[in-house]
């Protein structure tokens, strides 16, 4: 068994066959996503508690965020999820050209997201809205003084959650780059494509986190007016 198993490209020596290796990889990634879920879950818990504690702070705070930019990033991520899904599809079809193409589009979209995020962060820093001691000093015309302490709590949650999310996007972009290089070298075939599928799971998970972040952070105060 093991003698001819070693001739299969991409099969590690300690697995009996490709099926077992693929199953292990998929389950492994799902379990990893479970840990990611709990990791973000701690911040979602903090969000829930503080939102209930400071409803006004969260309304005012969300006015500081740009719904058009947040919305743009939401669309960018959803499109990138589609292109990632298509990349997985074409890897299953064994179409190398389209695989590389869709992986590249996904990577570009991921980078677009990060660039938009960068400008959002930059704007916050310029307005002294980064919630750290010594940095946080919003202009009273921008944010009424009585809301400033509460909004600070909102802002650290905003920075923690989107920052952690952006970190995952950066890691995802690195993974995509690796996959593109490997795909170009023809490493993936119809039979061996689980790295693409597994990375796709990760990318979709990061998308799901954003699906929750967008309404919770950007849209919370949308109905009360304000914003810019």
């Amino acid at each position: 068994m093991s003698e001819h198993a070693s001739h299969v490209p991409g099969l590690a020596h300690h697995f009996v066959n490709m099926e077992q290796q693929k199953e292990a990889g998929t389950i492994g990634m799902w379990i990893f996503l479970l840990t990611e879920l709990m990791f973000f879950g701690g911040l979602f818990l903090a969000y829930a508690i503080f939102r209930a504690t400071y409803p006004d702070g969260f309304l005012q705070g969300s006015h500081l965020l740009s719904v058009p930019l947040g919305g743009l990033n939401t669309i960018v991520l959803i499109v990138s999820s589609l292109t990632m899904a298509l990349a997985v599809y074409y890897s299953q079809m064994g179409d190398r050209k389209k695989l590389v193409g869709f992986l590249s589009i996904t990577l570009v979209l991921g980078l677009v997201f990060l660039v938009v995020k960068y400008f959002e962060y930059k704007e916050k820093f310029e307005h002294h809205l980064f919630p750290a001691l010594g940095w946080y000093n919003p202009d009273p015309s921008h944010l009424a003084v009585q809301y400033q302490p509460q909004v600070r709590v909102f802002l650290w949650i905003y920075f923690a959650m989107t920052g952690l999310h952006a970190l995952h996007m950066i890691i995802g972009a690195g993974i995509l780059l690796t996959l593109i290089i490997m795909a170009q070298k023809g490493r993936f075939t119809r039979e061996y494509n689980s790295p693409i599928e597994i990375s796709g799971l990760y990318w979709h998970f990061v998308d799901i986190v954003w699906i929750f972040l967008f309404p919770l952070l950007y849209l919370t105060g949308f109905h009360v007016g304000g914003g810019h």
Binding site: M38, G42, S81, H204, I211, P215, L219
Partner: protein, 108 residues
């Protein structure tokens, strides 16, 4: 070991359909968020927003992440993850809600 169903390839049509649904729901959540539903019922805005988000996430999990076509084990893992997250959120929030007063507010 776990019996194996033939590997399922999701047709492109499904991906496009899910994508369009996600876009529609995104537009919906922005549109609804503009209206003040809070005068109908306090938490209605957030409930609508979260419901839409859950529907979108479910679509992604089921189709983009293939969970609908995956093994029982994968489905169990997904459900277990959500279950544990709910344990953490529910028990902690229940504690806060059951106190005689929510922790003091700041700057008020």
């Amino acid at each position: 070991m776990a019996e194996h169903t033939e590997h399922h390839i999701v047709p492109i049509k499904v991906y496009i359909g899910v994508f369009l649904a996600l876009m529609v729901f995104t537009a919906l959540t922005v549109a609804v968020a503009k209206y003040d539903l809070e005068h109908i019922w306090g938490p209605l805005n957030i409930i609508v927003a979260l419901t839409v988000a859950v529907i979108k996430a479910t679509l992604v999990v089921l189709y983009f992440m293939h969970v609908r076509y995956s093994s029982k084990l994968t489905q169990v893992i997904v459900v277990a993850g959500i279950f544990w997250l709910i344990i953490m959120l529910a028990f902690t929030l229940a504690d806060y809600a059951a106190r005689s007063g929510w922790p003091t507010q700041l700057g008020q």
